[in-house]
């Protein structure tokens, strides 16, 4: 007979010995081959991406996880991605949002401060490079739209690398500047003030085209420079991979790979920094503040200083990713930094699990894929149906009569809302709940 225990035993068996290795590799192979053979299939990509989850979740040695992960990230993904550049774009976006979620997670998950204006710091980073990495400096005297097109660039494109670090500092300072007046507030009040701050930054970006044209207003700044890409890297990439890819890769595509790898590098750094901070006196102080402010301060934790540290650390990640985003898009405009974006990042944190590092990364990946692939894929499918002569059989409804208002891509907000509500009801701790580190203690080892 089939019983629950037997099923459980079966699962345990699947997760011991060599089986998890075989399962993981099989999942990766199936995903990779599928994406390789049908590079337009959304389902194939989701299957492929979810193999990372299998890799993370199943009981395999860390060496295996690490090396497989590296091969996947550094070889398989770029090759598959160049065959359909959209995939690299998704991976880049996932990395960006994962970084934002990790940053917001410090503020909300660790320190328990509800920040609804988090994208403001992302905007600070993006506009920082947007301003210094473009012709905007020389366009200051001109109103938007009338500046001459032959203005020089202020800085060489390779200053981009330096500006990643400058953005970290500037965003952190902005975080402190915002934090100083508002961190005396608690809970809901803090949320409202940060929400306001987020809007202030966006409105500033929108309106700082007069009296001096600093942000070029709603039109945004473009073009923004990218770092230079030496020809030998393009050639090298081609000699290595063009055989597998099936065509010669253009410089533009190598740029996509480059930004993907850069984002990956930043995200790995951020994960390291966050997990190390979390497992130190600073992380413990943050959690203590979240758990009980009064007890925390009575134990000698300087509240304001620690909250500022959380704000600054969280903001700095967003700043760095802002620079990356500005360079990869070569364009920044205020509408990328709306309140909805803040809510989007918040959704990722809550979906994944507040306070949980793997959780928020999963949350970021899930929401991004939902947004960019599943909803849009569904939209595309519906619009195809609409153009066809197909009819829903029993109720005799012609697809072409379907209102264009029923476009799933327009239901992003509905989806965010639904995710937040469902998570709060069914899994308030998130997909991968945060766990405290279990310490190995001297006398237990002896026993």
């Amino acid at each position: 007979m089939f019983s629950k225990e037997k099923f459980h035993d079966f699962l345990t068996k699947l997760n011991t010995g060599y089986t998890p290795y075989i399962l993981t590799l099989a999942h990766i192979l199936i995903g990779a081959i599928w994406v390789y053979s049908s590079p337009r299939s959304n389902v194939a990509f989701v299957v492929f991406i979810s193999s990372l989850l299998t890799l993370y979740g199943l009981n395999t040695k860390n060496v295996f996880k690490l090396s497989t992960g590296l091969i996947l990230a550094l070889v398989v993904m770029p090759v598959l991605g160049v065959r359909n550049i959209f995939y690299l774009e998704i991976m880049f976006q996932i990395s960006i949002f994962a970084a934002l979620s990790l940053g917001l997670n410090i503020v909300i998950g660790f320190a328990g401060l509800l920040d609804l204006g988090y994208v403001a710091f992302y905007a600070v980073g993006a506009y920082l490079w947007g301003f210094f990495g473009s012709q905007q400096f020389f366009a200051i005297p001109y109103a938007p739209g009338v500046q001459p097109s032959n203005l020089p660039f202020l800085l060489p494109g390779d200053m981009f690398y330096l500006f990643i670090f400058i953005a970290i500092i500037v965003a952190a300072l902005t975080g402190i500047l915002l934090g100083l007046p508002v961190l005396r507030l608690r809970g809901d009040y803090l949320a409202i003030v940060t929400l306001g701050f987020g809007e202030v930054i966006r409105v500033l970006a929108n309106n700082l085209d007069k009296p001096w044209n600093i942000t070029n207003g709603p039109q945004g700044i473009t073009p923004i420079q990218r770092p230079t890409m030496p020809q030998f890297i393009v050639d090298g990439f081609n000699t290595l991979f063009s055989g597998v890819i099936g065509h010669t890769v253009s410089t533009a595509d190598v740029y996509n790979v480059f930004f993907y790898l850069l984002a990956l590098l930043v995200i790995i750094t951020i994960i390291q920094v966050v997990s190390r901070l979390n497992d130190s006196k600073i992380g413990r102080a943050w959690t203590a503040i979240r758990e009980d402010e009064t007890a925390a301060i009575a134990m000698g934790i300087p509240l304001v200083q620690m909250k500022l540290a959380a704000f600054a650390a969280g903001a700095s990640f967003a700043g760095a990713m802002g620079v990356l985003m500005a360079a990869s898009r070569t364009f920044v405009s205020p509408e990328s930094f709306s309140f909805m974006q803040s809510i989007g990042v918040l959704t990722m944190v809550i979906l994944g699990g507040t306070g949980s590092i793997p959780g928020v990364i999963l949350g970021a990946a899930t929401v991004t894929i939902l947004n960019l692939q599943i909803l849009q894929g569904f939209s595309l499918y519906l619009s195809q149906l609409r153009q066809s002569d197909a009819v829903i059989p029993i109720i005799n409804f012609a697809w072409k009569n379907l209102s264009t208002q029923l476009d799933p891509a327009k239901y992003q907000r509905l989806l965010f809302g639904a995710i937040l509500v469902l998570m709060m009801i069914f899994r308030p701790a998130g997909l991968i709940p945060a766990a405290r580190r279990q310490r190995e203690l001297a006398d237990e080892k002896a026993e």
Binding site: K281, I282, G283, A288, E291, A298, M299, G300, R436, L441
Partner: protein, 265 residues
């Protein structure tokens, strides 16, 4: 010199004077209790000492230095640690992490050393962990509970974790706000002995608020009685037990009068 001197301290909440012209002195190595009926201002007095409230009038000197105007975390760094009347542990942290938070002021690590994981950081963490583990056992908890979430411990256990967390700050003065509340007689006996050991072995001065008179009478070298925000009596346990004003404060003037009448008959 006295460890703690409280001079004419007054704390008001609007029209209510919760602590009125309180004068109080504590010598190094003493165990002193503050007792009084509910609402007498004992906890407010503690909160004023630890900087959670700022008194309207008066002086508080600790080791001869004023504590007025300092933030609670600065006061903690001066060497005053406390527990709370309603246990205030960090519930979703493990027991050992709670104790490690208590060491916050003594850990020299900072953001940079934490991220870089330099040798001195690792060594400090290791030592802190070992010491936290020792403290957990010192307050009478099973060492295997170290990795348990604090909120999952039974009530008495949580009280002990709170004491361990306070001890982790290596204080000169330990303030205990009703440490035996809700404990059974055996547990009460155990913690009473623990307090005495803390004083004898670690040389920590202890000031406690307690309603359980068995604890108070057994452990205190001196007792201060508060009522309506004022100190109404001070003295040895024997003196306090015989003090007419204390009995009135606890039982009411009528009760004392009744007792008196009975004696006359």
């Amino acid at each position: 010199m006295a460890l703690l001197q409280v001079l004419d301290v007054t704390k008001r909440f609007g029209g209510l004077t919760a602590v009125n012209k309180m004068n109080f002195e504590l010598k190094k190595g003493e165990i002193v209790s503050v007792i009084g009926p509910n609402g007498a201002g004992k906890t407010t007095f503690f909160n004023t000492l630890t900087g959670l409230y700022r008194p309207e009038e008066g002086k508080i000197l600790f080791n001869g230095l004023s504590l007025i105007g300092l933030r609670p975390d600065q006061i903690a760094a001066r060497g005053i640690a406390r527990t709370f009347q309603n246990i205030r542990l960090f519930g979703n942290m493990t027991v050992i992490e709670n104790v490690l938070v208590g060491m916050h002021i003594h850990l020299k690590q900072n953001m940079a050393t934490a991220v870089l994981r330099i040798a001195s950081f690792k060594k400090e963490e290791e030592q802190a962990e070992a010491r936290a583990h020792e403290l957990i056992k010192y307050v009478g908890l099973d060492g295997s509970l170290s990795n348990e979430l604090a909120k999952n411990l039974p009530y008495g256990g949580q009280r002990r974790v709170e004491i361990a967390r306070a001890l982790a700050a290596d204080p000169q003065l330990l303030l205990l706000d009703e440490p035996a509340a809700g404990m059974n007689p055996q547990e009460t006996e155990d913690v009473t002995n623990l307090f005495r050991r803390i004083r004898d072995e670690k040389g920590i001065t202890i000031l406690l608020i307690e309603h359980d008179m068995r604890v108070v009478m057994k452990i205190s070298e001196r007792i201060t009685v508060m009522d309506y925000g004022e100190k109404i009596a001070e003295g040895s346990p024997a003196q306090i037990r015989a003090n007419q004003r204390v009995i009135e404060a606890y039982l009411g003037r009528g009760a004392v009068a009744g007792q008196h009448e009975e004696k006359v008959k």
